[in-house]
């Protein structure tokens, strides 16, 4: 029996290449028999629940969904989902997922990774997956700390962070994952929060529907080693001023409508103003579909690099570009049309001679 003999469905292009099911599904169908082993209060629980709750909405056949992870607390994710899954090695999940997505267009491929996994040891794979635009969705759990190795600073930790490996404070400037992804010209870049199930689900739906590499940064609280890192954007008293919500086609305002974004003619970027000072019409309308990532990048710069008192949340960019895997399969398809068989290839073009018995 060959691959084509397996009950894999027909192979054609488009977002719908993953086979769907008519059977009603529930979150329970996606829950494996494994005991979940994150620390009590870990933000990962909320994301897992949201994913288990949201997957049935996709209506895909469970056997055509694959979750691949690297190493870290969040990378245990695949064990808890009753789909196909691989828990791989540190930082390499995007490369493994690239192979899966390129070999099989009928699979919905998901990568679960963290700030250390994706941005430190696996940084190279992440940026190359994003520029290639392989059809997969990357969930980047950003808790701004190393959890599994017990609390060292991570590439998204604020400078000066005191940890076991940096008793006098960390020295390195942090990455902003959204800025990094936009710099790599990712076609789908979003940011959401573990505790906001509704927003998380909306973003995940859009990411899954997007053909290409979708990067979703999820702010995730680690109560053990970095508790409260996202309090300012979660606390009911502060979040109105801390979250800059991005909704495609809507003016970008926050602080209960008092503050908004306008273009900054001095820097070429964007800046925060009092809406009352400039008037509603001057406020920047969010355009996630702008083929030029410049404005999205400028918006991403409004994220605090230090303690997080302010951060744009939502879909920064969502544009269409042919995917690597679709094009790779297309090349094979086109070449097949005119190809000589293997025997002809092995025979070679000329310079063949025969020895008679």
């Amino acid at each position: 029996m060959s691959t084509t003999g397996l009950p894999f469905p027909g192979l054609r292009s488009g977002v719908e290449l993953v086979p769907t099911t008519d059977q009603p599904q529930t979150g329970k169908d996606f829950t494996s028999d494994q005991e979940v082993r994150w620390c009590p209060g870990c933000g990962d629980y909320a994301v897992l629940k949201a994913v288990q709750g949201f997957l049935p909405d996709l209506g895909l056949r469970r056997e055509n969904i694959v979750f691949v992870s690297g190493i870290g607390c969040s990378s245990r994710f695949p064990y808890y989902l009753d789909t196909y899954g691989m828990h791989s090695i540190h930082g390499r999940a995007p490369s493994i997922a690239t192979g899966i997505a390129t070999a099989r267009e009928d699979l919905s491929v998901w990568v679960v990774t963290g700030d250390g996994d994706a941005l430190s040891i696996g940084g190279n794979h992440l940026i190359h997956a994003l520029r290639r635009n392989v059809n997969m969705t990357i969930l980047l759990f950003n808790n701004r700390i190393y959890g599994l190795t017990k609390g060292q600073y991570s590439p998204t930790s604020e400078t000066g962070k005191i940890t076991k490996s940096t008793p006098m404070g960390s020295l390195d400037h942090p990455f902003n994952p959204v800025s990094l992804a936009l710099g790599a010209e990712a076609t789908f870049v979003a940011r959401t929060i573990d505790s906001d199930r509704k927003h998380l689900t909306t973003v995940l739906s859009a990411a899954a529907a997007h053909r290409g590499t979708s990067l979703v940064e999820i702010y995730q609280n680690c109560p053990i080693f970095n508790d409260g890192a996202f309090d300012a954007i979660k606390d009911n008293d502060t979040k109105a001023d801390a979250i800059i919500p991005l909704v495609h086609g809507e003016p970008i305002v926050f602080g209960n409508g008092a503050k908004g974004l306008v273009r900054d003619s001095e820097t070429g970027g964007v800046k925060i103003v009092a809406v009352a000072d400039v008037g509603d019409d001057a406020i920047l309308v969010h355009d996630a579909h702008n083929p030029d990532p410049t404005t999205a990048f400028a918006i991403s710069r409004l994220t605090d690099a230090g303690y997080l008192n302010q951060s744009p949340i939502g879909i920064f960019r969502q544009v269409e570009r042919p995917t690597y895997d679709d094009q790779a399969r297309e090349q094979v398809r086109v070449a097949r049309g005119s190809a000589p068989g293997l025997q002809a290839v092995v025979d070679g073009g000329g310079d063949v001679w025969t020895v008679d018995s």
Partner: protein, 655 residues
């Protein structure tokens, strides 16, 4: 004008020719074309290209010299030859870099065009070797090949520089005349290669013809030589390099298993040609992925294997070092994966364009933890086809990464190859899992059929291969230790000490079980009286075989064993080794196979080591074997050797 009489023809049994010139002189192409002509003519042959690691080292200098050696004969041969009978030197540096390899009586054809004071100095000559008597031991043909080429191509309107570039075709034409090579293949090669540039095409063809005519008409070349075709098994033949044959082996594995091939690779010398070759065959369902680094290359191949296709990654030693962690993951996941290491001189960057066999222990042990994997090695360029097919067979059958150890000498060297009939090759059965494989008792006492991803086949110990897409087989696998044995094949994470101990031993036992599917080693010991056994692996096959033949020609008994499988060893190997009084292991490293043999079998296997970036020479091997025989008290040897060497010299010089 004198009446032309056909020049006399002299019969030779074998000839070694070396083309040498500057990197930009087209010596590899010239050698390759002469090789193709020779192959079509029906001689047996063996080639050794040699080129600098730099793309264009400074012109006219010794480091910039590129050469191509070809050994062809009217009988079967095993090595590219130790000492060229003919050296074609296109500039002073090429002469200086190669003349030391010649024996007295050899022929040198020199392009005098670059023998200017400046170029002589660049090559490190104080005086012009063409007139200081230093070449008196040789037959020297000093000819302005460049000048003749420029004159012969004047009508095509090329720049002087472009016209001069056809000098390599002039040299090829001259040598083709000397040895009666058919040039039709070269003519059509030039026609297609320069189809878009008719003037270049015509100039090259004119230069080739001019070279041929020059030989025919010039008195300096008094005789032509003839080397009769060699006897060969019936069949269709072509010439093939190791990297090409290896690529075809991978394609054939895809064909015979019915699996699409997915290659993930990062360019690296001397493996890149496999990436190039496979990239040309998308029409056969091959996907090639040029990754951002070595790790992503294997990562994608492993992902593809998980998805149910034939995953392959190719690299050289430095790339294996980078891939080690992912290879360990493949061992843990128990997925089929072919990992090709085209070895080169190491450590670190080492000698990228030179050959070595020093990655054997890296292949065996270069991973954290107990991470065994099967290792196979080809013995000749054409054999790379069979070795690749065998690697894929083991990988697919046993669900394991397999290391295929080629090397730079095999990769770039070539030989006549009997073209296999693909459809007649044995099938490889992927045997995907299609449904539940285990009945379990649920907590409530009911029975249900489930899928255990690590429920093993009893004889191969292989686990099921269950690519995504089949309902009911959803499962999770990973690099963490897991329960994966007969009582619990769920693959669930397990940190239980006894389970880990069991799993480590199971993974080892599975690799050991591969030996059951492999024939025992064949011992080449025609008389059955040999006391000395030569054991080799990989590309030392040719030199060891050639040395063994020479020693047998002297009337001595010596046995030879050559290993295709380095891990696990064939089951009869220990018994074979113990049969002999002395066991010698020639290797292009510091004794890696001998170390393994000694450790496993407690035999006194002695390494014979060479790490010069070059294969052993046949003559060198003969001496090493004779010395070993002398240690065993087999005489006479020394005087015979010298006489024998002298006899061969005379024969080689055509006297």
């Amino acid at each position: 004008m004198t009446v032309e009489t056909p020049k006399p023809v002299e019969q030779l049994e074998r000839v070694v020719i070396r083309f040498a010139g500057d990197s930009g002189d087209g010596m590899q192409l010239t050698g390759d074309r002469f090789t193709q002509e020779t192959a079509v003519f029906g001689n047996d042959l063996s080639t050794l290209p040699s080129f600098p690691a730099e793309i264009r080292a400074p012109a006219g200098t010794i480091p910039g010299v590129s050469s191509f050696q070809l050994h062809f004969a009217s009988r079967d041969i095993l090595t590219p030859g130790d000492h060229p009978h003919v050296l074609v030197a296109m500039n002073p540096a090429a002469l200086r870099a190669n003349v030391a390899d010649l024996r007295p009586g050899a022929t040198i054809i020199v392009d005098t065009h670059d023998f200017t004071a400046r170029n002589l100095a660049k090559a490190g000559y104080d005086a012009n070797p063409l007139d200081d008597g230093s070449l008196d031991d040789f037959t020297v043909h000093a000819i302005d090949l460049t000048g003749i080429a420029v004159a012969a191509t004047s009508e095509f309107g090329l720049s002087r520089k472009d016209a001069a570039r056809s000098k390599n075709m002039l040299a090829l034409g001259l040598l083709s005349w000397m040895y009666g090579r058919p040039v039709e293949g070269t003519l059509s090669h030039l026609a297609s290669k320069f189809a878009g540039r008719p003037s270049v095409r015509d100039a090259n063809i004119a230069a080739l013809r001019a070279g041929w005519n020059f030989g025919e008409t010039t008195e300096a070349f008094a005789v032509r030589y003839e080397v009769e075709p060699a006897a060969a098994a019936p069949g269709r033949y072509r010439n093939v390099t190791g990297n090409t044959a290896l690529s075809y082996g991978i394609l054939a594995a895809g064909d015979r298993s019915g699996l699409p091939v997915f290659l993930g690779a990062y360019p690296i010398t001397p493996a890149s040609d496999v990436l190039h070759e496979l990239s040309r065959h998308k029409g056969l369902g091959v996907t090639t992925f040029q990754a951002e680094d070595e790790i992503a290359g294997i990562g994608a191949a492993l992902g593809a294997a998980y998805a149910g296709v034939l995953g392959v990654t190719i690299t050289s030693g430095p790339g294996i070092a980078l891939k080690s962690e992912a290879i360990g993951l493949a061992v843990m996941l128990e997925l089929p994966l072919v990992v090709v290491d085209v070895q080169r001189g190491g450590p670190s960057t080492g000698l990228p364009t030179k050959t070595e066999q020093a990655d054997l222990l890296q292949a065996m042990y270069g991973r954290n933890g107990e991470a065994p994997l099967p290792i196979v090695a080809p013995r000749s360029p054409g054999d790379c086809f069979d070795a690749a097919l065998e690697a894929a067979r083991i990988a697919i059958t046993y669900r394991t990464p397999v290391m295929l150890l080629s090397d730079g000498y095999l990769a770039n060297g070539s030989e006549p190859w009997r073209i296999p009939e693909i459809a007649a090759l044995p099938r490889i059965e992927p045997a995907f899992a299609t449904g539940p494989n285990r009945r379990v008792v649920e907590k409530d006492g009911s029975l249900s059929d489930v899928f255990w991803p690590y429920l093993r086949d009893e004889s191969t110990l292989a686990r099921p291969w269950a690519p995504p897409g089949v309902a009911g087989l959803e499962h999770r696998i990973g690099g963490i230790e897991k329960a994966g044995h007969a009582e619990n094949g769920t693959g669930d994470i397990s940190y239980d000490p006894a389970n880990h101990d069991r799993m480590v031993r199971l993974r080892q036992a599975k690799v050991d079980a591969v030996a059951e599917s492999v024939a025992g080693v064949e011992v080449d010991d025609p008389s059955g009286r040999a006391r000395l056994l030569m054991v080799g692996w990989g590309s030392t096959y040719g030199p060891i075989g050639a040395g063994v033949r020479r020693v047998r020609d002297l009337g001595h008994d010596v046995a030879q064993v050559h290993l295709r499988h380095l891990n696990p060893f064939p089951t009869n190997l220990g018994e074979v080794l113990r049969r002999y009084d002395k066991v010698l292991v020639p290797e292009m490293n510091l004794g890696q196979l001998s170390l393994l043999l000694r450790a496993k079998y407690l035999v006194d296997a002695q390494p014979l080591t060479s790490v010069r970036g070059m294969p052993f020479g046949a003559e060198e091997m003969e001496r090493l074997i004779l010395d070993a025989l002398a240690d065993l008290g087999e005489r006479p040897h020394r005087s015979t050797t010298l006489a024998h060497v002298r006899r061969l010299d005379l024969q080689e010089a055509g006297k």
